[in-house]
């Protein structure tokens, strides 16, 4: 029932924003061949890039199975606390008509989800003006519905594809602060890409943290991807470059490059990262994705992380990890709203299949799960 209502929201969002694009993407990787190239965002070279969903002929069977699996995982994980969901809010709705206090409680719920004040106020102001213009009747269910829709609408039209290079070896670089789950994300994505028929090489670009390379090596075993490692303390750029050269020589088409976690205010480390990106972009490699991995428990600092990493290495999208815990990851709303970065993937656990395509509708609904505590 809940699910059906979500779909309604989705349809509405799609109408408003011409967001057919988003709808296709919500179906994970199933839409092979459906994506018309014309939907590619302006500024990207259509010849040089390909969509992750447009799988090569012959590999169409496996990824579908894989994606069904992912789909199931996502449903069950996201649906986890659906029952407790908005019990307090709904109780409130039954008791009374929408008034300023209701709106304040909604704002609190957004803040508790780490959405942050500016974006929370932006969303609430939208509701207020719609209430004033009588576009909304003041019915609580309708209000929540509208709020979820406008949250989902923030993400509409976002480019959730993982792009590939046509002419050179595709490099996806993973960046972020310490402990957000970069290495784990790479491991899971490697498995997924291999299942999708791609030949993957992992670049152990985190040469700083003790045993980070070993950790990635275990993921390479689990996923069946090749790995190129340097010595501890080796220049990460050279490790990444070696991995690309290795991939090129072996005819592998995708390099997933790990990098050491770094806090965005450490300018020397950010310079190092810029160098990694520059070097990875040289022949025979081409960096088509720079993915910022963000921990869902992160608070308002997530915005600074996104801003600084984007400034340094041109982040193309966000991977939101650890969404299987109690944290809601609402900061991605602010990141999307204020910086315009797309959210591409979501991590839902430690298992190798716990990585799914970001779904704004589910995300919006989950924001209010157990939303009002205290």
């Amino acid at each position: 029932m809940r699910f059906r209502r979500n779909r309604e929201v989705e349809t509405r969002g799609a109408e408003e924003d011409g967001g057919e694009f988003g709808q296709n993407l919500l179906e994970g990787g199933e839409s092979g061949g459906v994506n018309p190239a014309g939907l590619e965002p302006a500024g990207l070279d259509p010849a040089g890039l390909d969509f992750v969903n447009r799988d090569e002929a012959g590999s169409g069977g496996d990824p579908k199975v894989e994606d069904d699996e992912l789909e199931r995982t996502r449903r069950s994980r996201f649906g986890r606390s659906r029952g407790i969901l908005r019990a307090p809010l709904l109780g409130l709705g039954r008791r009374q008509r929408v008034d300023e206090r209701t709106l304040e409680e909604l704002e609190d719920a957004l803040i508790l989800a780490d959405v942050g004040l500016p974006t929370a106020e932006f969303l609430l102001d939208q509701l207020r003006s719609k209430l004033r213009s009588k576009e909304l009747s003041g019915d609580f269910e309708e209000l929540i519905h509208e709020l979820e829709a406008s949250i989902a609408a923030l993400f509409s039209g976002e480019d959730r594809e993982l792009h590939r290079s046509h002419l050179r070896t595709t490099v996806w670089l993973f960046v972020g602060v310490n402990g957000v789950g970069k290495t784990t994300t790479i491991g899971k994505l490697a498995r997924r890409e291999i299942a999708g028929g791609h030949s993957v090489v992992l670049a152990a670009g985190d040469t700083f943290r003790a045993a980070a390379g070993d950790q990635l090596a275990l993921w390479s075993k689990r996923s069946g991807a090749d790995i190129v490692q340097g010595a501890d303390g080796a220049d990460p750029s050279s490790v990444v470059y070696d991995a690309i050269a290795h991939a090129h020589a072996r005819g592998a088409d995708l390099v997933l490059a790990d990098s050491a976690g770094r806090l965005q205010n450490k300018s020397n480390l950010m310079e190092e990262l810029k160098k990694i990106r520059r070097v990875a972009d040289r022949e025979p490699g081409e960096v088509t994705e720079v993915l910022l991995v963000l921990d869902a428990t992160t608070g308002q600092n997530g915005l600074a992380q996104a801003r600084e990493f984007a400034r340094a290495v041109g982040v193309t999208g966000v991977v939101l990890t650890k969404l299987d815990g109690t944290a809601k990851g609402g900061i991605v709303l602010a990141i999307r709203h204020e910086l315009g970065l797309p959210i591409k993937l979501v991590g839902l656990g430690e298992q190798i299949d716990d990585l799914v395509v970001f779904d704004p509708i589910e995300f919006a609904a989950a924001l209010f799960d157990e939303g009002t505590r205290g």
């Binding site: 780490d114 402990g179 003790a210 090596a217 275990l218 997530g302 600074a304 650890k322 815990g325």
Partner: protein
């Protein structure tokens, strides 16, 4: 951030000038700003609410201090409340009477447990102890490997095998007894709080080794979820303290205060960098300033309050009101400032100084030269700089060891300053000052022609 928060306060308080008490309207407006600042700093919503209420009680109708601007006064109250909440009981680590002293570390994935374990081991070593590290994180690939590398780095042995976490922890403690280590630090796997199996597992570890201390390791960048994480771990493990990691980032670290309020146990250590030595005891006052986004400014406010000579300030303000700002007043101001520390940081805090002056860049060594110039003036010249002609200028330059160009510059700047002072007093809406100046203006203008 300090700029914005304190500027916003200043704006709110401009209405307040000339009144003796903080009004309710102003307090409300300021509390709204404080709430925003706390939430932007990731202080948990309910904790922020409590704090704001406590601050309201202390600010409503409070008398205005003479040495601080109203904005600074409120910030001081906020700071005191934050510090009190963060501090409270201080932590003293007591070693077990029968060694080893057992420390258990728990937390979410990626919070920095393994790194904290190694840093803690190093800390114990520096205290003259002989720690053993136990790697009971068998979940994350290569976690034990990481601990072993770090253990080598700090020169502490690491015990682990790949059976199961509870057994490893237990055997680790037995191993410490066997080889005569007096401290055992047990690193556990990161776990999410809603995973009952994993929470049961960490409880089983605790039950099997009965640690003397159980610490929660939490990331300083954590948002609102800090409350849930802390309370879940606290109810499972009965925490003794908290280690706050990654505070070398630019996160404001409101999680610290959230966790402290929920768990009620002290924050014991902070992890301040990627190197094993970057590990310190926790200072509530520094954290308070950071959460508000005001850093060292808070301590400057305190210093300003204690050092600032009220009488001298009043005298200066008095002469300002009469539109007379002389080199004597200027010298007095410089003396006051020098007592407080580096000029650049102090200037911005002086009550009543206009913005233009706050932004002026004055170097400390320039101040010494300015002082020398003023001290080479006669009392008459200091009160009435118009007297200073070419030959006096030469005398002053000889006396102060400066050039006449420097003296000219100072005279010109001083004139600008006088103008600004007058206009700022005017803008302040002090009726008396306005009247005085008008009267004075009426007399002075004709005679200066």
């Amino acid at each position: 951030m300090f700029e914005t928060l304190s500027d916003r306060f200043d704006q709110i308080f401009t209405r307040l000038k000339g009144r003796g008490r903080l009004g309710d309207a102003e307090v409300d407006a300021v509390l709204r700003e404080i709430r925003v600042a706390l939430l932007e700093g990731d202080v948990a919503l309910e904790v922020a609410r409590d704090l704001v209420e406590r601050i309201r009680v202390r600010c409503s109708g409070a008398e205005l201090s003479k040495s601080l601007t109203p904005a600074q006064q409120v910030i001081k109250v906020v700071n005191e409340e934050l510090t009190a909440t963060l501090g409270g009981e201080s932590f003293t680590l007591r070693y077990a009477s029968i060694p080893p002293t057992i420390v258990l570390l728990a937390g979410l994935q990626g919070s920095g447990k393994t790194t904290a374990a190694a840093k803690l081991a190093m800390w114990f070593k520096q205290q003259g102890r002989h720690p053993l590290l136990v790697g009971a994180d068998l979940q994350r690939p290569a976690a034990v490997e990481q601990l072993k590398v770090l253990g080598r780095e700090v020169g502490v042995a690491v015990y682990s095998d790949s059976s199961d976490p509870v057994a490893v922890a237990k055997q680790g403690v037995a191993e410490a007894v066997r080889v005569g280590r007096d401290v055992v630090i047990v690193d556990t796997a990161g776990r999410i709080t809603i995973d009952a199996t994993l929470m049961d597992e960490v409880r089983a570890i605790r039950d099997s080794i009965s640690p003397n201390y159980t610490f929660l390791v939490i990331d300083a960048m954590t948002g609102q979820d800090a409350v849930q994480t802390a309370s879940a771990f606290h109810s499972t493990l009965a925490l003794d303290g908290v280690i706050l990691s990654k505070i070398d980032g630019d996160a404001r670290g409101g999680a610290a205060i959230s966790v402290k309020s929920v768990v009620g146990r002290p924050i014991v250590f902070v992890s301040t960098g990627e190197r094993v030595g970057d590990f310190e005891s926790f200072h509530p006052d520094r954290m308070a300033g950071r959460i508000l986004g005001m850093g060292d400014v808070l301590s400057l406010i305190e210093r300003a309050e204690s050092v600032y000579d009220e009488q001298a300030t009043l005298a200066t303000m008095e002469s300002l009101r009469h539109g007379r700002f002389t080199f004597e007043d200027f010298l007095e101001q410089l003396q006051q400032m020098k007592k407080m520390g580096p000029l650049s940081s102090v200037l911005s805090m002086l009550p009543g100084l206009p913005k233009e002056m706050k932004n002026a860049t004055i170097e400390d060594r320039d101040v010494a030269r300015i002082e020398a110039i003023i001290r080479s003036m006669t009392p008459d010249e200091r009160i009435n700089p118009v007297l200073i002609d070419g030959s006096r200028r030469l005398r002053i330059s000889h006396g102060s060891g400066t050039t006449t160009t420097e003296i000219n510059n100072l005279l010109r700047q001083f004139k600008e300053m006088q103008k600004m002072m007058r206009s700022s007093v005017l803008a302040g809406g002090l009726a008396r000052a306005t009247k005085g100046r008008k009267k004075k203006g009426g007399r002075v203008t004709p005679s200066s022609k």
